[in-house]
């Protein structure tokens, strides 16, 4: 004798197989939610792990001090300060690099390596080669080497303090200090024009006259001091600042202000936002839809349930049986989700790998997220199954096995309204059906709306980002080239630039490094000062540039907890060191980077200087670009220059690679979800209405007329859902905009009519495809069987 469990299992498997297309579509809904969660958390986890490993294994410093020149003997003093676990001195310097066959200027950061002992902090991770053994050897940062296809033993020329030095590449390495390798004034990496180079200390000491001295200090804190946060670290920073004040110390700073760490943290913060917000939206939606589908799917089995009950199966056994049904769908969804998300997460992580140099970026599935996915999807299946079974077992078996008594329509105000509105019979059927199942109709509309909302949400960033870049590079920054001088200069500096061939227009500017304080809040940046009547620089949302006071990016003002009208303590940390309290007169809502701005006259007035410039903005004739670059390269007063269009291209490709790749994935997933949602709705509606539709066919209604009845309902649901979907998408997008705002950029909240159109188009297309699928099924309804069945 076969055990009843085996029989039930066979029934289960056969039914699953029979409904495979539909269950697969439901499994897609589950997998989409699972995928979004897994992709985002896995990508983030692998970056966090890579960062942690790199920091730990290569002892990334906790506190940094840059100064002009201090004797080596101070190291002992630093080492004895409470809370200091390790300290190391070094020499850093900016330089220019020349490479054969590359005309553009290359900015370099030179960093010394200890001669005698091994490096203690921020140690290098050699990808190939070895550390330098003499002063003519150099280790090159990996991204730079890759950008120029440099090999070991290639030669490069460094120009340091006006002296040209030939160096031989002996190693290619990465460092925890330069995971995100960008030039001091950039926001995007440019591996061709900026690189980091490590030389032996004696090489740099000789060139910079730093024998027995250092200009950069790294400190690793004792674990305890690091954990105790503010107080201990703050005290130590204060002592370091005091200690180095007379040596030109520019103030100590922590990891949080270290440039590479800061960018990486911002990125991780955004990923974290994504990995919480997106999964909530997607997994939530998919769990919700799964719940509805499972419930309706099981509802179509009502008669079989009645028979099982009549045979004496207990409701619990029936429930468990159908729980197996929904669990199989969940399992399929999970397997699909895990396989696809592993692959997509790896793609995403790989892209991050091109912007952040880690030792290794392993992609390991985030098991905690997986556990969440399992719990949420199983719970959704469980609840849906339970509700359906609960409803089914309430009906006495005898009643359920009889052909269904007519669904309980009653004369009501709404039904009367439908009657008097002059709708045809078809529409009366459609409307009464929707009205009769208010919950089901609402859930269907809500489901389609959520899917449509996700489509809108998945596409809005594409446009928002291009709007952001357009604003920044077409309206706010209209210069072609930014030139930085080696030393501050007066207006004569501009005359010589204006005289260059290909230069159409010149405007002077000044940039000074500062630290902005407000109470405990502190931010290191630089003030960019320019003429308030500048033709090349506009501040977003600032109508006319105030001639006095400070202007901050609103994001920075928020960070510093400042309101317009209040005073900011500005600590100038450049050549001239002084601290002033300056009123915040306006904020600008520019969307890329954060900055501080001032009228040029005002800045020079504060610094007690007359018209002093540190750089210039040029409008150039693009056809003379090469010649102009050659001339700029020859000018001793030009420390460097950058072409703003190149920066724009870099930023655009960064956005394409990171944010937009993620959003493309989201968009495709939203599309699949929309289709699965609409398809399932139509499929289940067909199952529920088969008998009614067959009756109409028998009465002489044509195939097309019956199809209209079935799809009229779908169309109506879709039409109600579309505007609701816009609302959902609008809310998702607004939430995302708010959460995604970071120092690097704040995506403006722009949703155009096209996006609303796109979302509607997506939903309608999904509906159309679902209808085509359904038409085939409708054609094959067995009229006789459908009349006898149920």
């Amino acid at each position: 004798m076969v055990s009843p469990h085996v029989t039930l299992l066979a029934k289960l498997l056969r039914e699953v197989w029979h409904a495979r297309a539909q269950l697969f579509a439901i499994a897609i809904v589950v997998s989409v939610g699972v995928m979004v969660l897994l992709i985002m958390t896995t990508a983030r986890q692998s970056l966090v792990n890579a960062q942690q490993t790199f920091y730990d294994e290569h002892r990334f410093a906790d506190v940094f001090v840059e100064l002009t020149r201090a004797p080596q003997s101070l190291l002992t003093t630093v080492q004895e300060l409470p809370g200091v676990a390790m300290a190391e001195t070094r020499i850093r310097s900016a330089a220019r690099i020349e490479l054969d066959g590359f005309a553009d200027p290359i900015q370099a950061q030179l960093v010394s390596l200890p001669e005698q002992q091994t490096q203690l902090l921020n140690t290098l991770h050699l990808r190939s080669g070895a550390l330098p053994t003499n002063s003519r050897q150099v280790v090159v940062s990996e991204p730079f080497a890759q950008a120029h296809q440099l090999q070991l033993y290639d030669a490069i020329t460094a120009i340091l303090n006006g002296r040209r030095t030939e160096l031989e590449i002996v190693g290619i390495a990465i460092s925890p200090e330069f995971i995100y390798q960008i030039g001091p004034a950039d926001i995007m990496p440019d591996y061709q024009r900026y690189g980091v180079f490590w030389l032996r200390e004696d090489a740099l000491a000789a060139a910079l006259d730093m024998d027995g001295a250092f200009n950069s200090l790294l400190v690793k804190l004792e674990a305890q001091a690091n954990r105790a946060h503010h107080t201990d670290k703050g005290t130590l920073q204060l002592r370091l600042d005091q200690l180095f004040e007379r040596y030109g110390g520019r103030g100590s700073y922590t990891r949080e202000e270290q440039i590479s760490h800061r960018f990486l943290s911002e990125e991780l913060k955004q990923l974290r936002t994504n990995s919480i917000f997106l999964p909530i939206v997607f997994l939530g939606t998919s769990a919700f839809l799964f719940n509805i589908f499972m419930q309706r799917q099981i509802h179509t089995q009502q008669q079989i349930i009645a028979i099982m009950k009549a045979f004496g199966y207990r409701p619990m056994v029936i429930f468990l049986h159908y729980l197996g049904y929904s669990s199989l769908v969940v399992l399929l969804g999970l397997v699909l989700g895990v396989i696809l998300s592993r692959w997509l997460a790896a793609t995403m992580v790989e892209l991050y790998g091109t912007y952040f140099s880690f030792i290794e970026l392993g992609v390991k599935l985030n098991w905690r997220s997986f556990a969440i996915a399992v719990v949420v999807t199983f719970a959704a299946g469980f609840i849906g199954t339970w509700r359906a079974i609960y409803q089914a077992v309430q009906v006495p078996p005898a009643q359920a096995m009889r052909p269904p008594s007519p669904a309980n329509f009653q004369q009501s105000r709404i039904n009367h309204f439908i009657a008097v509105m002059g709708f045809g019979q078809t529409w009366r059927i459609i409307l009464r059906n929707l009205v009769r199942h208010p919950l089901r109709s609402t859930l269907s509309v809500l489901g389609i709306a959520l899917a449509g909302g996700l489509l809108l949400f998945g596409s809005y960033q594409f446009q928002a980002i291009s709007t952001m870049l357009d604003r920044n590079y077409r309206v706010e920054q209209q210069m072609d080239v930014i030139v930085h001088f080696t030393q501050v200069t007066d207006a004569h500096g501009l005359t010589s630039l204006a005289a260059l061939s290909g230069v159409n227009y010149v405007e002077g500017m000044r940039s000074v490094p500062v630290r902005l304080h407000n109470g405990r809040q502190l931010y290191s940046t630089s003030i960019t000062a320019f003429d308030s009547a500048s033709q090349l620089r506009q501040l977003a949302s600032v109508r006319s540039m105030p001639t006095t006071g400070l202007i901050l990016t609103d994001h920075l003002a928020d960070y510093l907890q400042l309101e317009t009208g209040s005073n900011v303590t500005v600590e100038f940390i450049g050549e001239r060191r002084l601290t002033r309290s300056v009123p915040l007169v306006a904020t600008t809502n520019e969307s890329i980077g954060v900055g501080a701005y001032m009228a040029l006259g005002e800045l020079n007035h504060i610094l007690l200087e007359s018209s002093v410039l540190s750089g210039a903005w040029l409008l150039i004739d693009d056809s003379h670009k090469e010649a102009l670059y050659a001339e700029l390269n020859k000018m001793p007063q030009v420390a460097g220059y950058s072409h703003i269009r190149e920066a724009e291209t870099k930023l655009r490709s960064y956005m394409d690679d990171t944010v937009l790749t993620a959003m493309s994935i989201i968009f495709v997933l939203a599309g699949s979800l929309t289709f699965a949602m609409v398809y399932n709705n139509a499929r289940i509606a067909l199952a529920e209405r088969e008998r009614e539709l067959a009756t109409l066919r028998v009465l002489g209604y044509s195939y097309g007329e019956v199809a209209r009845l079935l799809f009229g309902e779908l169309l109506l649901l879709v039409l109600i859902a579309i505007p609701l979907g816009w609302l959902c998408g609008f809310i998702f997008a607004a939430g995302m905009t708010e959460l995604m705002s970071s120092e690097l950029f704040r995506i403006p909240f722009v949703i155009s009519r096209q996006l609303f159109g796109l979302s509607a188009f997506g939903v309608l297309t999904a509906a159309l495809i679902a209808v085509i699928f359904m038409l085939r099924r409708l054609k094959h309804i067995d009229l006789v069987a459908a009349l006898k069945s149920e």
């Binding site: 052909p403 008594s405 007519p406 669904a407 309980n408 329509f409 009653q410 004369q411 039904n415 009657a419 045809g424 019979q425 009366r428 059927i429 009464r432 059906n433 009769r436 008998r691 009614e692 009756t695 109409l696 066919r697 028998v698 009465l699 002489g700 209604y701 044509s702 195939y703 007329e705 009229l783 006789v784 009349l787």
Partner: protein, 231 residues
């Protein structure tokens, strides 16, 4: 009016062939009321389905007047059902979301020369239940709505598949009475299939089916009124 010649129907059920009809020939004459009698599995429903254009025969010929139905395609069969045939089912098959009147209108909307839904309902004695939904009507009333729906298009043929099968004797009698009245007043050719031999007493002609073949055919010299029937 409807002529079947040597109709066979073979269903392929997996690997088994089921001969539902084995060379059945019969004619329905204009205005007559025929009762097709048979046990379950005798092939009577299959025959009715084929005559009504719901199914096609495996072999044999079927003519409605001079139209060949055995070669008709889906579209032509739909047309035939729409214009010429009224169906009454054992389980009524009303649209639950429509009132009695609207259920009838469902058919009059697409028919060529229908009577008003109200008239059809009056004929089955439901003039004061027109705005009730199926759920608010008794079984007998629902079946009468179904009959009203079937006759409202003034069909030439009315096919009834166990119209009293789900009803008690009294209510069933009432329904049959309606069918008889319609047949007499409108002259609609009516075929009723049933396993209940008593019902045959109201027919002009009784045809007995067994195992897919006609085993007996008998003309009633004296038709009994439906209201006199009891079972």
């Amino acid at each position: 009016m409807l002529r079947a010649e040597a109709i066979s129907k073979i269903y392929q059920m997996g690997e088994v062939e089921i001969h539902a009809l084995r060379g059945v020939s019969l004619q329905l004459h204009s205005g007559e009321l025929v009762v097709l009698l048979g046990a379950s599995g005798s092939g009577k429903s299959t025959l009715l389905n084929i005559m009504g254009g719901l199914d096609t025969p495996s072999s044999g010929e079927l003519y409605y007047r001079d139209h060949a139905l055995h070669t008709a395609n889906e579209r032509e069969l739909t047309r035939f059902r729409r214009d010429h045939v009224g169906f009454v089912f054992q389980f009524y098959n009303l649209i639950p979301s429509l009132t009695a009147r609207e259920n009838v209108a469902m058919v009059t909307d697409i028919a060529r020369n229908p009577m008003a839904p109200e008239e059809a309902l009056e004929r089955v004695g439901l003039n004061n239940r027109m705005d009730h939904f199926p759920a608010q009507l008794s079984g007998g009333e629902q079946q009468r709505v179904a009959i009203a729906r079937a006759i409202a298009k003034r069909p030439e043929i009315l096919l009834c598949d166990e119209p009293t099968g789900a009803l008690d004797s009294t209510t069933g009698g009432l329904v049959l009475e309606v069918l008889q009245t319609i047949n007499q007043e409108l002259g609609t050719t009516t075929a009723i299939i049933t396993h209940n031999a008593v019902i045959a007493e109201m027919a002009d002609r009784m045809i007995r089916l067994s195992d897919g073949s006609i085993t007996e055919e008998q003309r009633n010299s004296h038709q009994r009124a439906a209201r006199e029937l009891h079972w």
